[in-house]
Assembly symmetry: C2
């Protein structure tokens, strides 16, 4: 834990008191997003201190030319980066001619930020004493509308504290922005037009190379004592900037409110349309409602989100705030409306890991979205990969695979691989398995089989073809082996027979073969289309089967455990406990070769396989493997604690499970990794949700039915969560006395609780006690 300035509160994230040291960290933590755009918590008014400016538009990226020390064949040419977009939030403020700038003010009192997660609104307030000794009380309200997702709204209120004042608001748009992360200092944006019309202004700019056209817009008005001014006193246009000015004399004790609506219209959502006209249209809708109505609608929209996705924890505010922050950020990042979008590791909160999509989506995020939204959201995430199938086939081809073998990218924005370390790009191929697993998981949870004949089967075939070709036959072992891979534990590179990868490979082939049979039997037309398209033959699937049947798995007879990879037992097996604290985190203290030689595990690897395929193994097996591997695990990936929390809970090791839970849920609030300035760890937040629902709640799907084995950490009085299971809404509350269910709808539902069948009656008949 690296910071503790965030106040504990069930529903809000709160900072009190102005500390310049926290500005960049808070800019991340108080970020706003609405699934279509995002905004770091940068100040509206000028701020001359250190800051990390970030405005992001979903799906708008730049292919930054790859930078490497030593080029290797097969490396991608470009790294697709979510980029800082033209800024719409700026409102410079003059008080009697003196700029308001918290970095240079004489005093800042009562500074407070609140990210009200219940409402989806960000509040900021302070009393500033300026260098000219004038004193203003400022209150800012900001949100990105969920209803009109191209629009953000700001209300900026200034009260004269001790004398009459003249206040000038200078709202502006600025396309002269840069990226902190840029390989070659390329210019990412080209500005094509700047215009002002009355109280509105527009900057049209397009990204270089990708040519995403955007219009950044604003619409302002000022209100003082009931009188509204919606024509600026001045208008100024510069090369990459347009600004207006509104001036108002205000009396001591009175308040002037300045309203700014702003945001983006983007060519990808307005094909062929005039983006300025499109901006005017959405501004028309927004101004027609007005700020207050938009704000109310925002609260209502978030109420709807929370209604379905909230998790309550009684008796542990730290834990409660943590889980809500995670759920809030996930919903800010992705709402599942657009199958061209996905969930970037930093969402809309920073630039790092610039390419948007990782296997995190399939391995961690899909369960959250399946349970807290309707199945269309998860289906859209699956469809995203289906739409990238041709690119995945091209990625594989680049590495020498043929015949429609598909290798999904490690990092991508448009389906092309972006990453450029050979040990990841070319070798961390287990990601392909997660894509297939998500298809299985989606059907298991939602019962919606239609995705498989329509799209999924083609993905499964491409993936099976990849594994078939990637495995090679070892005469010595008389088995198929998979050489030269990096497993989920990235602290091992270029190993042979990573158990997780081999297991995944075999499962992918077997699952593809099963689904081929199933689609053939039940969806003849789809089957014929797909066979025609993929030219899949019996002899080819026989070869797949041969590989799957004879796959090699490293195993220690002596220990009775699967080995993470060939040769794992040759390492010096000193547990993390016996590693001096001064040596950790090893990724900061050790050279890479030392990490690679060590037995230390960055995140679940064998145990990730036990998580995905738990039904294949007994609890004794899990215990044996958990006891062997967890002691070597340093959890230096944000994706590690959640899986271990789930498995510790399953093994009824509740204290350990609780510790893992805290670490995953407050990773960013407490800045465990000393990097929250750069943005939030969005995808691991879905793991936090899994820790409660699958870990403590023990939720599983077994034979098309929900199953629970609820446990509760001793620190908690109770916790509850809600899930959408095949359009049935079920709330589960767990307290010290046990589990309590609240089923919506009209029909009863059969579940399993601790292995026993239980028939739940709808809510009227069986209220939560």
């Amino acid at each position: 834990m690296n910071q503790d300035y965030i106040k504990l509160n069930d529903w809000s994230i709160i900072e009190e008191g102005f500390d310049k040291e926290n500005v960049k960290s808070s800019e991340s933590i108080f970020s706003l997003g609405n699934g279509a755009m995002g905004q770091r918590a940068n100040f509206e008014e000028k701020y001359s201190g250190p800051t990390f400016q970030g405005s992001y538009i979903g799906g708008v990226y730049y292919p930054d030319k790859t930078r490497v020390g030593w080029w290797k064949n097969g490396y991608p040419e470009y790294f697709a980066k979510v980029i800082n977009a033209p800024s719409w939030i700026g409102i410079n403020v003059l008080v009697d001619g003196e700029p308001l700038d918290l970095n240079t003010c004489s005093r800042v009192d009562n500074f407070r930020r609140e990210l009200n997660m219940k409402e989806g609104v960000y509040y900021r307030s302070f009393i500033a004493t300026l260098k000219n000794d004038k004193k203003v009380d400022v209150k800012v309200t900001r949100f990105l509308s969920l209803d009109l997702d191209e629009v953000g709204a700001i209300r900026y209120e200034i009260t004269a504290v001790k004398e009459d004042l003249t206040v000038t608001f200078s709202p502006f748009l600025d396309s002269g922005i840069t990226n902190e992360d840029s390989n070659w200092d390329d210019k990412f944006w080209n500005t094509t037009s700047i215009s002002s019309q009355g109280n509105q202004a527009f900057i049209e700019a397009h990204t270089m190379k990708t040519n995403f056209e955007t219009c950044t817009f604003m619409d302002c008005q000022m209100e003082y004592k009931g009188k509204i001014q919606n024509k600026p006193d001045e208008t100024e246009e510069k090369e990459l900037w347009v600004g207006h000015a509104y001036q108002q004399k205000i009396e001591k004790g009175s308040t002037v409110a300045f309203y700014k609506l702003g945001g983006y219209t983007v060519s990808r959502n307005h094909k062929g349309a005039n983006l300025v006209e499109a901006a005017k249209e959405v501004l028309g809708k927004a101004t027609k409602q007005g700020f207050d109505a938009l704000l109310e609608a925002q609260k209502k929209a978030w109420e709807g989100i929370w209604e379905m996705s909230d998790i309550t924890i009684e008796g542990d505010t730290k834990a409660q705030q943590g889980i809500r922050f995670n759920i809030f950020q996930l919903n800010q990042t992705y709402l599942g409306k657009d199958s061209r979008l996905n969930i970037g590791p930093k969402g809309f909160t920073g630039e790092k890991y610039g390419g948007s999509t990782y296997w995190d989506t399939e391995a961690y995020c899909i369960p959250f979205y399946m349970a807290t939204k309707n199945h269309h959201v998860a289906r859209n995430l699956l469809k995203y990969r289906y739409n990238h199938l041709e690119k995945a086939i091209a990625n594989a081809k680049k590495l020498g695979f043929t015949n429609g073998a598909a290798l999904y990218p490690m990092v991508t924005m448009n389906g092309e691989e972006c990453h450029n370390e050979w040990e990841i790009t070319f070798e961390e191929i287990h990601r392909n398995g997660a894509i297939a697993f998500a298809i299985y998981n989606y059907f298991r949870y939602t019962g919606d089989y239609s995705y498989i004949p329509e799209m999924g089967l083609e993905v499964l075939i491409g993936i099976a073809r990849f594994w078939h070709q990637r495995a090679t036959f070892s005469k010595q072992k008389n088995k198929y082996v998979i050489l030269g891979v990096t497993g989920p534990n990235e602290y091992e590179n270029n190993v042979n027979n990573n158990w997780y990868t081999n297991y995944m490979a075999r499962w992918c082939i077997q699952y593809a073969l099963e689904q081929l049979d199933k689609v053939k039997a039940g969806y003849k037309e789809d089957y014929d289309r797909i066979i025609g398209y993929t030219k899949l033959s019996k002899s080819e699937t026989d070869e797949w089967k041969e590989v799957a049947d004879a796959m090699y798995f490293p195993f220690s007879d002596q220990l009775g455990i699967y080995l993470q990879q060939d040769g794992f037992l040759d390492k010096e097996l000193v547990t993390v406990e016996d590693l001096p604290k001064s040596q950790r985190p090893i990724n900061q203290k050790w050279s890479w070769d030392r990490i690679l030689r060590s037995p230390y595990i960055k995140q679940a690897d064998v145990l990730q396989g036990f998580y995905f395929f738990e039904d294949h193994f007994s609890e004794e097996d899990l215990e044996k493997h958990f006891d062997f591997y967890e002691p070597f695990t340093v959890h230096e990936s944000s994706l590690s604690p959640c899986v271990h929390s789930i498995q510790a809970a399953k093994l009824d090791r509740m204290e350990q499970a609780y510790q893992f839970y805290l670490r995953t849920s407050r990773l960013d609030l407490d800045d465990y990794n000393k990097e929250v300035e750069e943005g939030l760890h969005i995808t691991s937040m879905a793991g936090t949700w899994m820790s409660i629902v699958e870990g403590f709640g023990g939720m599983r799907i077994k034979n098309d039915k929900l199953s629970f084995t609820p446990r509760i950490p001793k620190e908690w009085d109770s916790y509850s969560f809600k899930i959408n299971f095949r359009n049935r809404i079920l709330k589960i509350l767990v307290d010290k006395s046990g589990a309590h269910f609240e089923l919506e709808g009209d029909h009863e539902m059969s579940i399993r609780l601790n292995g026993e069948r239980l028939v739940l009656q709808p809510v009227a008949k069986n209220p939560v006690q």
Copy 2:
């Protein structure tokens, strides 16, 4: 083979006819060097076509900030680059006002370059018809003086072919030069002063960061019909440039000669001195002799070098030219006068592999220098590493090693590691073994033990400490293992128990222990000093011994061979012969992961160990391992064919040995790797020498005695070479009838020929027949 425009000739490299496509290639091949400075074969006069300009000063480098895609702890901050130095060769020419530029001339006839290797002189001549239709016959003679190694000399002669002409020579110095290889477009040079005095000019400039001060200088004169003009008609100074102009009317059929002496004085050789004064002093010496005397001295100096290092081959001009080119380039690069210098893979012929020193020096170059120079030269190369011991200890420390463990760098200029791929920098640690082996090899060959107590033992201790710490104990194997390495075959990364590396590690420890005993017994004072300094204890050396005694070596019982690394037999063992030609070279056709998974070997790995330690293995063993590994070897390293040539010869597979020989000896002349433009492969040239002397000649040192098992390729009538063995000069001539020896000096000498003892009488008594 990629080019064949070089004419076959025993003593010269010749190009005839002007082809712009060959300019950059010839700029490499016709390069000049004198051990202290080097010059690519760039034209003196303006050339507006594609060219790669290169002037280099031994030991003057720039630490270019590292560029990587993804930083890893332990990476070096800088890559030390031999850099392009201010240019001294330029002489622009105007003919009746029209610039002479071979790229834009109307015609170029009789163009010819000759690198006369016997003389160490580079000749260029042509007849140019300019755009103004004037015609000149040009002859240029250039060399870098071996005697005055700060000076190069040019004679530039122009004859008026068909009418009277006015010729203007504009000699200049230019510090406005750039590097083709630059990570961040840094400015490498800072020019501090420019001056002209009479017919001399000077540019003082220092490298940024490293602050090597240099003075680039010139001294010119023009001669026409016996009249000498040594005052320029004009002088011009610009910001980074100084030029003079000499004008002369010449009559049809007559010749004007322009002489330019130029070069560098450098602070590293003139501590605290005024470099302009130093330049004047060396110019004084040179002009006192004059061009013709310098030229004669040059020829004489090269005669001396050839006297000792020439290899003759009768009956095969292609092979003869190849070996002389290799020997010539090695002598141009390094003459052993300065222990601060070493042998860069491209010598003074290009920028690539910017950091100068690789393990190539110890593994490949030292045998050549030991046999063709006196032992001080090889000793200087060893001393270079001794001087870097502290830096090697620092390199190891950076990776987490302690207690004075030393890891010599993969690439370096000043002892610090420069390379930044983890799989090389951190893992290709076998290089440490080559440093120790060179110490052993030096003593074996020269009999000069003094290096070991004076310096070598400390190096051996640092290296043994490294191996002791780098090996870890495998409980499973009950042996010490070395995990996560890259062997000499760089087509495998991060493997466990690379046989070569493990074998080297054990040998290094054993050899260090032996030498500790020997120094203790015979050099008590040195021993005490070293023990005091290193704090080496009995318990520590006992631990070393334990590691060496229990080192693990991967071995296949079934095949009876040592395995290149753990798991090698799990690969798909398809030989190179069965690999489609279209797939080669695999380093251009395949992605890196595919290369890594394949069985293909870039250069000798297990066989490199069999080369170094041949006495440890029977010939049957060698045969078995050669037969197993060579068929998987793609020889995509310039260092590969020579070792295989030697071993094929040993196994009496002469046709194979001859093919390997041709490939190594004409690598650059025939441009096998399509990259000769970038510079020559200097270090592998020493391997070519070994192919003849150790391969065909079968020269070994056994029990302090020379031993030969001579063989001759069927394509050759005879071959001969000369060696300096412990200050005895012996010439060996091998023809179809057998071997013939010519021993210099007064005393007889006992050698072994084909295993039989033979006493050689000095030359007078036993002339070559």
